[in-house]
C-alpha cells in the first residue's frame, strides 16, 4: 500500500519523507476483559514530507491522537514501523530516545495545562535546553528571551507563572518551548481548540510565520475543518483507526474521494453563505472496541445507501487505492461519487 511520494506542487525543494509510517498498529487491552483489545490504530501507512503541513483529521475514536503519540514515541507501537529522517524509531529506548526527542516536539491542546503550574516562564522554556544541551547557565536566559521574542512575548513575562497568563500567552510559551531545541517536526495537537476566535487567529498567524522562518514541518491534528483548511498542505482522514483518505488539501475539500470525508465536510458549520447542505451522516459512531465488519463506515454511509446497500461494503475491507499519485482513499465505490455534488451519486 504505497502512498505515493511525489511532492505537492507548492512544497519546498527538499520534499523527502521526514516521517514514514508503515503498517502501524496500536492496540490497547480492554480493562476488565482479558484478551479483548481495542485497535486504536489499524495498519496505517502515511508519509509526512519535510517542510509541509500535514493534517490528521477525524473525530473521537478515529485514532488520530494515538497515531500522533506513536510517532512522538509517547506510546510504543504494537506493530509496524515508524521512520523519522530515515531512522527506525519504533523500538529505540533510553538515550537514543532522548536524542530523538530533540527532532520532534509537540504543542498540546490545553495551553495552561501543558505548563507546570509551579514553574516560571523562564524555567518552562529553559527546561528542554537544560535537559539536552550544555549551554552555560549565564547564556540560557538570553536564549529564552530570544525564543520569547519569536513568539511575541517579552522579558517582563519571564517571571510569570502559567496562572498569571492568558490562554493565548500560555500557548505562546508552549510554542517557544517547542522551538527551543530547534526541532524538525512539530506536532500540533488541537493547538487552538481551547482558544477564543480572536486569539486563535493570532496563534495561527504565529504558527504560519514560524513555519516559514524556521523551515518546520507540522503534523496538525484537528477536528476543526476551517483551521485545517487554512493551514494544511495535505490531509489524512481517519475513521475508527483506519486512514480512509489522503490527499492535497484543496482536492480533499473540493472533491473528496471517501463518503466519510464528504459527510464531515457537509457537517462542518461555516460563517460563509452556503447552500443548504444535506446532513449526510446517520447514527452514532460505533465504539472502537467493536468496529463494524468490512468497511468500518458502512452502517453510517450515505453512499452505500444510495447504491442499494451492496454487500461488498459489509464483507470486504476496502483497500487504499491511489486515484492519482497524490490522492487516494479506501472505498469500494469512490468513483461513483460525482465531483461537485456532495451527496450525489453518478450512474
Amino acid at each position: 500500500m504505497s502512498v505515493g511520494t511525489a511532492p505537492p506542487l507548492d512544497a519546498p525543494a527538499t520534499a523527502l519523507p521526514l516521517v514514514r509510517v508503515r503498517g502501524l498498529v496500536r492496540e490497547f487491552s480492554v480493562p476488565g476483559e482479558s484478551g479483548r483489545v481495542v485497535r486504536a490504530v489499524a495498519r496505517v501507512d502515511l508519509d509526512i514530507l519535510e517542510g509541509e503541513v500535514y493534517a490528521l483529521v477525524g473525530e473521537s475514536g478515529s485514532g488520530k491522537t494515538t497515531l500522533a503519540r506513536c510517532i512522538l514515541r509517547l506510546l510504543e507501537p504494537t506493530a509496524g514501523t515508524i521512520e523519522v529522517a530515515g531512522a527506525d524509531i519504533g523500538r529505540i529506548r533510553g538515550d537514543d530516545l532522548r536524542r530523538l526527542r530533540r527532532q520532534m516536539q509537540v504543542v498540546f491542546q490545553d495551553p495552561a495545562g501543558s505548563l507546570d503550574p509551579r514553574m516560571s516562564v523562564l524555567d518552562l522554556v529553559a527546561e528542554p535546553i537544560r535537559a539536552h544541551l550544555r549551554t552555560a547557565s549565564a547564556q540560557i536566559e538570553a536564549e529564552v528571551v530570544a525564543l520569547l521574542d519569536q513568539v511575541g512575548l517579552r522579558r517582563v513575562h519571564l517571571e510569570r507563572r502559567p496562572h498569571e497568563l492568558s490562554g493565548g500567552q500560555c500557548q505562546r510559551v508552549a510554542i517557544a518551548r517547542a522551538l527551543a531545541l530547534k526541532p524538525r517536526l512539530v506536532v500540533l495537537d488541537e493547538p487552538t481548540s481551547a482558544l477564543d476566535v480572536s486569539v486563535q487567529a493570532q496563534i495561527l498567524n504565529l504558527l504560519m510565520e514560524l513555519r516559514r522562518s524556521h523551515g518546520l514541518t507540522y503534523l496538525l491534528i484537528s477536528h476543526d475543518l476551517s483551521v485545517v483548511r487554512h493551514l494544511s498542505d495535505r490531509i489524512g482522514v481517519m475513521y475508527l483507526g483506519r486512514l480512509v483518505e489522503q490527499g492535497p488539501a484543496a482536492e480533499i475539500f473540493s472533491s473528496a474521494r471517501h463518503p466519510y470525508t464528504r459527510a464531515l465536510m457537509a457537517a462542518a458549520p461555516s460563517t460563509e453563505d452556503m447552500p443548504v447542505r444535506p446532513v449526510l451522516i446517520k447514527g452514532d459512531p460505533p465504539s472502537p472496541a467493536n468496529p463494524p465488519s468490512g468497511c468500518h463506515f458502512h452502517p453510517r454511509c450515505w453512499l452505500r445507501e444510495r447504491l442499494g446497500c451492496p454487500e461488498l461494503c459489509e464483507t470486504i475491507e476496502p483497500p487504499f487505492v491511489q486515484a492519482h499519485a497524490r490522492h487516494g482513499s479506501a472505498c469500494h465505490f469512490a468513483d461513483r461519487m460525482t465531483a461537485d455534488q456532495p451527496g450525489e451519486v453518478s450512474t
Binding site: 516536539q105 495552561a112 509551579r118 527546561e127 511575541g152
Partner: protein, 296 residues
Amino acid sequence: MAIGLAQPVVGAPPRGFGHRLRRALLTDPLGFFSLVVIVLLIVMAIIGSAMAPYPMQGEGASSVTTRLFPPSWAHWFGTDLFGRDILSRVIVGARGALVVSVAVVALAMAIGVPIGAIAGYSRGRIDGALMRLTDLFLAFPPLLLAMAIVAALGPGLDHAALALAISWWPWYARLARGTAISLRERPFIEAARSIGIPDRTIVLRHIVPNSLTPILVQATIDIGTVILAAGSLAFIGLGASPPAPDWGLMVAEGRTYILDQWWVSTFPGLAIFVAVLAFNLVGDLLRDLLDPRQNA
C-alpha cells in the same frame, strides 16, 4: 506582518501569598489564634529556660519543700510530687514535644513521599511491589512496634521517635501515590516526557513539587497528632523517662492523685490539647491558602 504581540493580562494582578495570609488571619479568628499558639510554642522551644520562672525545676531539679502546692501566684500551675513548678516544666517541655514531632513527621515524609511518588508514577510492577511494602508497614500496630524497639534498643525519646516514624511513613506514601497518579495524566507531565526529560527527573521536579500541598497540610496536622502519640507512648512508659519534662510523662505521673491534686495532670494535658488543636487549625488555614493557587 502582525503576529499580534501579546499584552500582559489586564485586570487586577494576582495577590501574593503574604497578602492572602494577612487577609485570612484578619477574617478567621481561629486561624489567627492557632498561629499565635504555634509561634508561642516555637518561642518556648527555643528559649524555654529563659522564660520559665523556675528553670532548674523545669529541667528536673526537685524542691522538697514545695510538694503538691495548688495553683497560686507563685506557681501558676501549681507544683508536682517533687515540688517542681509545673508551669516551668510545661514551658521547658515544649522543646521536647516540638522537636520530636517535627523530627518524626520529617522522617516519615522523607521515607514515604519518594516511595509513594515513584509508585504512583511508575504504576505496574514497581507500584505493586512498593505498595505491598507499604501495606506491610501499615499492618504493624504502632504500639507493638514501639514496644519492640524499646525492648531492643532501650527506652528513650529518640527510640520512641524512631518507632513513630516507622509507623507513620506509609500514610505519606499513600498520599503521595494518590497525587502522583492524578498528576501523571496531566498534560504538563506528558509535555515533560515529550521534551525528553528522564523519568526520575520528572518525579523529582514535576510530580513531587506539585504534590506538596496536600502533603504539607497533612504534615502540619500530623505534628499535632504526633505530639499526642508521643505523649501517649510516654504515658505508658515507652518514651521519655523521668525526670524529663515530657508532657505525656507529666500526665502519667499525676495519674495516681488526679482527684485531689488535679493540676498535676491537667495542665500538661491541656498543653497537649491546645498544641494539637492549634496544629489542626493551622493545617486547615494552610489548605485554604495553598489550594486556590494549585487549582491551575
